[in-house]
Amino acid sequence: MKNKRHVSILLTLLAIVALVASGCSPQGGSTTVKELSGAGATFPYPLYSKMFDTYASATGVRVNYNSIGSGGGIKALTDKTVDFGASDAFLTDQEEAAMGAPVLHIPTCIGAVVLSYNLDSTPALKLDGTVLAGIFLGKVVKWNDPVISALNPGVSLPDLAITVVHRSDGSGTTSIFTSYLAAISPTWKSTVGAGKSVSWPTGVGGKGNDGVAGMISQTKGSIGYIELVYAVQSGMPFASLKNASGSFVAPSLASSAAAAAVSLPNDLRVVIVNSPGTDAYPISAFTWILVYKEQKYASRTLAQAQALKKLLAWVLIDGQSVNEGMSYAKLPAPAVTKALALVDSMTYGGTAIP
């Protein structure tokens, strides 16, 4: 008799759970939306996690953002499994076509991709695009290679093999970095090319910006590319790079903002690597939040569209004050103006979202 009780207790428990769970019905159309979800780039993740934390305490709306890589963000938006995607690379024509509807690119900040390395004496290194291409092509294999020494007079470089660390996942950071290498090195452009995932000639893969940073910090003699804030927060050294006007520039808020001082197209889909300014850090980039222009799709409600629009406007105005504390440059004023215009162009069922 007693034994039967075990089963019934357990079954009752399970039934309760099932009931509780089914009681939590999805967001109804009438009520205000308290939750939004997004996924994508790891490059701005530290910024987004801080921004959305601030947003939640200010408005009570929770934004669940998962940093799964830019490719993942694009896929999630294509599959319509999230409210917004996030990417450091704007959509390719093929990706845009797969979306099936126009997608807006709302920039949120300017970031810098830095070259972090792990060397015992942590010297301050200077590098240029040609040498970087050599390293990532697997042609420059030792830290004391003459081409590196030539850029770093007075720095004693060890007789240590270089371990290249790159991303193993589809990444906007990779897209930015490879666009830069392709802009500098014809060999890179013809053999590897630029994209979110490329066929790396050498090295080991880490997952996400954090994965690459983790691998660099664990590996002597390694070099890899990560977003500035990851290097700053985990205390790793990073190299100064020679920019298009020939000066060596360290990545910083100012130097990445300087890279954005170019004329911007209205849709804000623009690459700013190898930017011409004298103070511009050459591997800088916008990062974007991607949303459908027409918000009435699948089973989306007007309330969801409104919540999303509100969030985007907040990110462009109030949210910008979070940027600098997190080592991301603020958007320049013209970019904010154009981005707000894009947000205003969002529609629900063909009419503007109130």
Binding site: I68, S70, S168, V198, S199, G206, M215, S222
Partner: protein, 309 residues
């Protein structure tokens, strides 16, 4: 026949029907699940087959930029890690099983069996965590030492990471050890005592008895147990993903970063955007699914024969 069925009888008859129906539905659902998996995987991976066809299996380029996909590096990675782990763990699994069956008394055997159960019940991701922070650095040191020994600078250079095929093989060997050991032990325990005692009575040493009586008796079920363990190793995902280094190139040494079918999917599926890329990853899952089904059915058949014998 003539009497009207009482209401309680009718209730019982209805319950009987419901009960029979429920158990039949559940049984059919279970069988249908396998078919559903197969169909779903086939449908969602068709873009890959349309683009590459059968050569997908032996092409070794995996390039998301040019959208050329071939599964060979992952198939090789899966087989090398799976068989490597089996090779390393089998002697130990046999040793442990024999120790527990023939050497250890109850007081020693019971706690060890408990520990084996504990080790076998640890989640894959915890093995991965341990592998990443404890095992991988050790493998890295070994790689540097080995590289210096054979005078290979490349090994010394890459050794500092430690992630790669070897780390995955070692971790997998540890992970399947409790599984294969307890399966082998199970079959050792059914060897008739008379056979064993007979051999000992004839003046055989303990090992003679094990070698000539026990092991031949359990040969088939041991093979079954090993095949089942291999199946586990081939499909293992998280632990391998965390220590194998996610290289998409064909590995040339045991120290190279590589990928298995499972780890490639875990790493790339969420961010694959183009239909061909997604299809190719699902195609990897399909290959893994088919391998797993074949191995499991094969192992069960061998095991059943071994027991019937």
């Amino acid at each position: 026949m003539a009497a009207q069925p009482s209401p309680s009888d009718r209730r019982e008859a209805a319950r009987e029907r419901a009960f029979t129906a429920a158990s039949l539905v559940a049984a059919v659902a279970l069988v249908a699940t396998i078919a559903l998996f197969l169909v779903q995987l086939l449908i969602t991976s068709r873009t890959s087959r349309a683009a590459f066809g059968l050569p997908f299996l032996w092409h070794s380029e995996w390039n998301p930029v040019t959208e050329k996909f071939g599964a060979l590096p992952m198939i090789v990675g899966t087989l090398v890690t799976g068989f490597g782990a089996l090779l390393i763990s089998t002697p130990f699994a046999l040793g442990i099983a024999i120790f527990l069956a023939d050497y250890a008394g109850r007081k020693v055997a019971e706690p060890i069996k408990y520990l084996i159960g504990l080790l076998g019940g640890l989640p894959s991701v915890i093995f991965g965590l341990w592998g990443l922070f404890v095992l991988v650095p050790i493998v890295g040191k070994f790689e540097v030492w080995f590289g210096k020994l054979v005078g290979s600078e490349a090994l010394v250079a890459s050794g500092t990471t430690g992630v790669g095929l070897l780390a995955a093989i070692l971790l997998l060997a540890i992970m399947i050890l409790p599984f294969s050991a307890s399966l082998i032990l199970e079959s050792l325990l059914v060897v008739p005592t008379e056979l064993k005692e007979g051999a000992l009575a004839l003046g055989a040493t303990k090992w003679d008895m094990i070698q000539n009586v026990e092991l031949p008796y359990v040969r088939k079920s041991t093979v079954g147990a090993l095949v089942l363990s291999l199946g586990r190793a081939l499909g293992e995902t998280m632990a391998v993903t965390m220590v194998i280094g996610n290289g998409m190139k064909m590995p040339t040494t045991l120290f190279d970063p590589a990928n298995t079918l499972a780890s490639a999917i875990a790493n790339q599926f969420l961010e694959a955007t183009s239909p061909v890329y997604i299809g190719s990853l699902i195609q990897l899952a399909l290959i893994l699914f088919v391998i797993a089904i074949i191995i499991n059915v094969l192992a069960r058949v061998i095991l059943r024969r071994g027991i019937q014998q």
